[in-house]
């Protein structure tokens, strides 16, 4: 049942992985979402055409399991009557939530990387959207940067053997079809103890560059072990998508000189576009004041997930998912910490800077041993990052 328009309060579900594998990241996302809610409520609530409406948020744990997440989502809809849900730590969980949001239509903002099929017309929940890029985009961005900017001809692709990695692989394949190179893929099991067998394969192939895309501990393991094996002496390392929660666990030596693609970085100093530096710094400062440490890129995404969901309702002056979603699509332009952004018809967001390119900092270059892990050197500006909505059935 859809609640009446102009309800007393906005009932917002927030769901991240608080336990299980995703919890390192999920807790940061949750913090950021809470910050957004708090900011809005501290300002008196959302603005429904002059009328102030408070947010009542329900925070839930996905346990990093799709079925648990669906269970929680159902209960928030049935018991609490939420009309919008923000969340998602790991891709498969968001995909499941999206699927559920087709069955019981509510607004769903996935704030993490999701497979591209999420946005296909057939598959997307009617009011689902995402502040983050898809795994495929990440792959495309990396592959395009490697071939177009770095001009490499022989590439090893070393990705994790699960949803996110397969998505990235699809993206990479597409780009490599367009810009032919020699390449080989090596898939690594998730949560594996030792990455050396795979690194040996990489090194056997003798590529000019290896593009890695592990996540969490696997990312730490593979970068550290690559360093131990002196892989960097023989090839460049490009890391597809890096975030604070695991970048800070990598020893500085291991990250030194690694090229990284990032959704965003909390310290954009040195980036030519001063506008972006300013918005970034502002967000970082606010987050730091609240939690005492710099925000993770995914935290930023979660923060804007809440903000945009609420903005949609403000535009529609209603908590009704359909009205809110349509209002959002009708007013697609907004500004995020990473610069101007625009909603697309398929629920994806196209940012002015799709992704940033950084260079890993070694122990000597760091001002803060933990948090200063990369220096932004460039941004990916090409267009092949996101698929055209037409290709997704729109």
């Amino acid at each position: 049942s859809v609640p009446k328009a102009a309800a007393e309060e906005i009932k917002l579900g927030v769901i991240y992985a608080m336990t299980g594998k995703g919890s390192a990241l999920g807790t940061k996302q949750m913090d950021a979402a809470k910050l957004a809610v708090k900011e809005i409520n501290d300002a008196g609530g959302a603005n429904f055409g002059g009328k102030k409406v408070m947010i009542k948020a329900f925070y839930q744990d996905t346990e990093t399991k799709p079925d648990a997440a669906i269970r929680k989502m159902k209960s928030m809809i049935n018991d609490e009557g939420i009309t919008a849900l923000v969340g998602g730590t790991f891709a498969h969980v968001s995909l499941a939530l999206n699927d559920q949001s087709r069955r019981t239509p509510i607004m769903f903002c996935a704030t993490n990387g999701v497979p591209e099929e999420f946005f296909e017309k057939e598959k997307k929940g009617p009011y689902s959207f995402s502040t983050m890029a898809s795994g495929e985009s990440v792959g495309r961005g990396a592959a395009a940067y490697i071939t177009e900017v770095m001009k490499k001809k022989k590439v090893a692709v070393c990705l994790p053997d699960y949803a996110y990695g397969h998505g990235a692989l699809r993206g990479i394949e597409e780009v490599f079809k367009k810009n032919p190179v020699d390449w080989e893929k090596i898939m690594t099991p998730v949560g594996t103890t030792d990455m050396t067998p795979f690194l040996l394969r990489v090194s056997d192939y003798k590529p000019e560059i290896v593009s890695m895309g592990q996540w969490g501990n696997d990312a730490i393991n593979i970068l550290k072990q690559a360093y131990d094996m002196k892989l960097r002496d023989r090839m460049e390392v490009f890391f597809n998508w890096i975030v604070n929660v695991f970048a800070t666990g990598i020893t500085p030596e291991a990250l030194d000189g690694v090229m990284c693609q990032l959704y965003w970085y909390h310290n954009m100093a040195g980036f030519p576009d001063q506008e972006v530096v300013k918005t970034s710094d502002a967000f970082t400062a606010r987050y730091k004041a609240a939690y005492g440490e710099p925000p993770d890129p995914y935290a930023m995404s979660a923060y804007y997930g809440v903000k945009e969901t609420v903005r949609a309702m403000e535009l529609a002056k209603s908590t009704d998912p359909k009205k809110a979603y349509e209002a959002l699509m009708a007013n697609p332009d907004w500004v995020s910490a990473k610069g101007p952004a625009k909603w697309r018809v398929d629920g994806q967001c196209s940012y002015k800077y799709y992704s940033f390119i950084g260079k890993g900092l070694g122990p000597k270059d760091r001002k803060d041993a933990t948090w200063d892990y990369v220096k932004i050197v460039d941004a990916y500006k090409g267009t092949s990052f996101q698929k055209d909505p037409k290709a997704l059935g729109w």
Binding site: G20, K21, S23, A24, T27, K28, D161, I186, M187, T188, P189, G191, T192, T193, D194, T196, P197, F198, L200, R201, S203, G216, N217, I220, N221, K224, Q225, D228, M229, K230, L231, D233, R234, N244, V245, F246, T248, G249, I250, T251, P252, E253, T370
Partner: protein
């Protein structure tokens, strides 16, 4: 191939460290000790905490962490496991799993969820087949060998292991000889805990410390112990090396299946053992 095999042996050495403690408690006390994973992770966090306070000295910090784990191991044995001897093993499984849950949350609560860096203490790689081969791994492999010999000597020279095995057959019988069963169980369990910590500390520089590190390692460690034969010190050593090779070689040709292959080997070994008997 040779390169893979050599890496495989170093993986095996690491597996040996993380599973030998489990093997000892498993073999003597017949407990599938999930808390091993918790002590393993906790020890690494102790280590990280001590490291800056002792001027970054790896060895001293490791010794402190092991020392700090002794009371933890003792407390687990004294207040949880001791109450379950002689009862169905299943309860021990549940209780130790409960400890794993509690410990993991305690770690999250104290040190946060984000993985922590652990820098490798040696940091030297030598050239090998045109690539780099970290000296640290050589050191680990040699230490594994030393530990293996040391444990063998320990259990051969002392009656501790035998008392524990005897107590499982007939605890009252041991008591009636005037041997305090509990004391020996504690010793063995604490020893197992210390080895868990040692395993964690040696492994952490290769990866990182995070609250779930104990979960990740447990299943593979179980496989090592099972393949080697519960509590069989030599068996554990050989099976750790063999499974290290399995991981390395499978990883080379069918990377996704590397970990699963360990379980396949484990299933085959178990089935073979039981059909032979």
């Amino acid at each position: 191939m040779i390169e893979s095999a050599i890496y495989g042996l170093t993986i095996g050495a690491i597996l040996y460290f993380v599973s030998i403690g489990l093997s000892i408690t498993f073999g003597t006390m017949r407990i599938i000790n999930f808390a091993h994973g918790m002590v393993y992770a906790l020890g690494v966090y102790f280590f990280i905490t001590f490291l800056p306070r002792v001027g970054g000295n790896f060895v001293i910090s490791a010794l402190l962490a092991i020392a700090a784990a002794i009371p933890v191991g003792y407390a687990i044995e004294r207040f949880v496991i001791r109450r379950l001897y002689g009862e169905s093993l299943d309860y021990a499984i549940i209780a130790t799993y409960a400890l794993l849950l509690i410990g993991t949350d305690a770690i999250k609560w104290i040190w946060g969820t984000v993985p922590q860096q652990v820098t490798e203490p040696i940091g030297i790689s030598f050239r090998f087949f045109g690539g780099g081969f970290p000296l640290y791994r050589v050191v680990i492999s040699l230490s594994a060998l030393v530990l293996f010999l040391g444990l063998n000597l320990f259990f051969r020279k002392t009656v501790i292991g035998r008392i524990v095995i005897a107590a499982l057959d007939d605890s009252e019988g041991v008591q009636c000889l005037g041997l305090d069963v509990n004391k020996y169980f504690s010793i063995v369990f604490v020893l197992g805990s210390c080895l868990a910590v040692l395993g964690g500390i040696l492994y952490a520089p290769i990866s990182a410390a995070d609250p779930y590190m104990g979960h990740d390692i447990l299943l593979i460690a179980f496989a090592v112990v099972i393949v080697g034969g519960m509590g069989n010190l030599t068996g554990t050593f050989i099976s750790a090396l063999a499974l290290g090779l399995v991981i390395a070689i499978t990883g080379r040709y069918w990377s996704e299946a590397a970990d699963t292959m360990v379980f396949a080997v484990m299933a085959i070994v178990l089935i073979y053992k039981s059909y032979k008997a």
